[in-house]
């Protein structure tokens, strides 16, 4: 298709789409005036029913836990796809010299690796108490490890995250999530039903299976981000 034809087609289709979407938007409740019952009910029952404060985490890992399982598997499949496409037998020995030359960047950056990883783990651990959770904390933890490359050198990043360990963590994260769901079936409950003791609200030992699923997600997301960075950096290293 010629460029002009394509632009012309986009003009017509885009205008039609904009018209239809504008019409749909006109039927939405005014901004700030949402009346969805489901969210309102969850906001009032999540704390007494599940002993957690962060309702978004309760939705993600409990009330709609099955959706998150689908999302975990999607994440797993996409990361496996990246590995399948990019991973190949490479010469591990010869790499370009990539050490950061600025002492200042090296000192500050490498000094931040520890704190960044700790903050990431903190965000994962407190996911059902404060804003955070496995997904957000996983990315934060992984970015702490990637700092090893950004402020140091690639070989230290690889040494800190061996491929075998990352692959294992990636599979375990997804596996544990599904296993928690199946475990509920074994004790006679519904798939992914929250069957564990709920603990005291406001402590890390609250939420029953929410805490387990949250940790499994944190592990999987950390491994996924580290693995994606591995595979893309391998392309140039």
């Amino acid at each position: 298709m010629r460029r002009e034809t394509r632009l012309w087609l986009f003009g017509v289709a885009g205008a039609a789409l904009a018209g239809l979407m504008g019409w749909a938007i006109a039927g939405l409740p005014s901004f700030g005036d949402f009346q969805g019952e489901y969210g309102r009910i969850l906001n009032s029952v999540a704390e007494p029913e599940r002993h957690v404060w962060n309702v978004v985490s309760a939705v993600t890992f409990d009330y709609r836990g099955l959706d998150t399982l689908g999302e975990e598997l999607m994440l797993f499949a996409a990361v496996m796809g990246v590995a399948l496409l990019l991973r190949e037998a490479r010469d591990e020995g010869e790499r370009p010299e990539d050490a950061v030359r600025s002492d200042m960047i090296g000192a500050v950056g490498l000094g931040l690796v520890g704190p960044a990883v700790v903050v990431g783990l903190y965000v994962i651990a407190h996911g059902y108490l404060t804003a955070g959770g496995g997904f957000q904390g996983g990315v934060a933890t992984a970015s702490g490890l990637v700092l090893l490359y950004a402020a140091g050198r690639y070989s230290s990043y690889r040494a800190a995250s061996p491929r075998a360990l990352i692959d294992f963590a990636e599979g375990t994260g997804a596996g544990v999530y599904a296993a928690v769901g199946v475990a509920a079936l074994v004790v006679g409950a519904a798939f992914l039903e929250n069957v564990l003791g709920l603990g005291t609200t406001g402590t890390l030992a609250a939420g029953g299976t929410i805490s387990l699923l949250n940790a499994a997600t944190g592990l999987e997301v950390t491994a996924a981000v580290v693995l994606i960075c591995h595979e893309f950096l391998e392309e140039v290293m």
Binding site: G32, V56, E231, F232
Partner: protein
């Protein structure tokens, strides 16, 4: 009555789509796809917003009677962001493979080479 956030989502979607349609570089195309995807975050979060309400996190110090915005759309947005990130990585991996095999990153030239 305000519809501005919804209109913003619509604009982001269309401007991203325009970028995808006219793109001359596959990496640029993936970025435009990201812009399109971000329209869904804006739309979801805008729909669930309630004026004057707090975040749906009820720590002990937060007064319960104020109420909170809708937690369901926030959980959906979380899913949306995560899937978007890993799918972007997957598409970029495909771009690298395309470049390795054909030496091309312009979608137009790529099509001509195949023919």
């Amino acid at each position: 009555m305000s519809y501005l956030p919804y209109a913003l989502a619509l604009w982001l979607f269309l401007v991203g789509l325009y970028g995808v349609v006219t793109s001359r570089h596959l990496v640029h195309l993936v970025v435009c796809l990201g812009v399109m995807q971000s329209s869904t975050y804006v739309l979801l979060l805008a729909i669930g917003y309630r004026t004057g309400k707090k975040a749906p996190i009820f720590a002990s110090s937060v007064p319960r009677q104020v109420g909170a915005v809708d937690p369901v759309v926030q959980a959906l947005t979380l899913t949306d962001v995560v899937v978007s990130v890993v799918v972007t990585a997957l598409i970029l991996a495909l771009v690298i493979e395309i470049w390795k095999r054909s030496g091309q990153v312009d979608p137009d030239t790529l099509r001509r080479e195949e023919a």
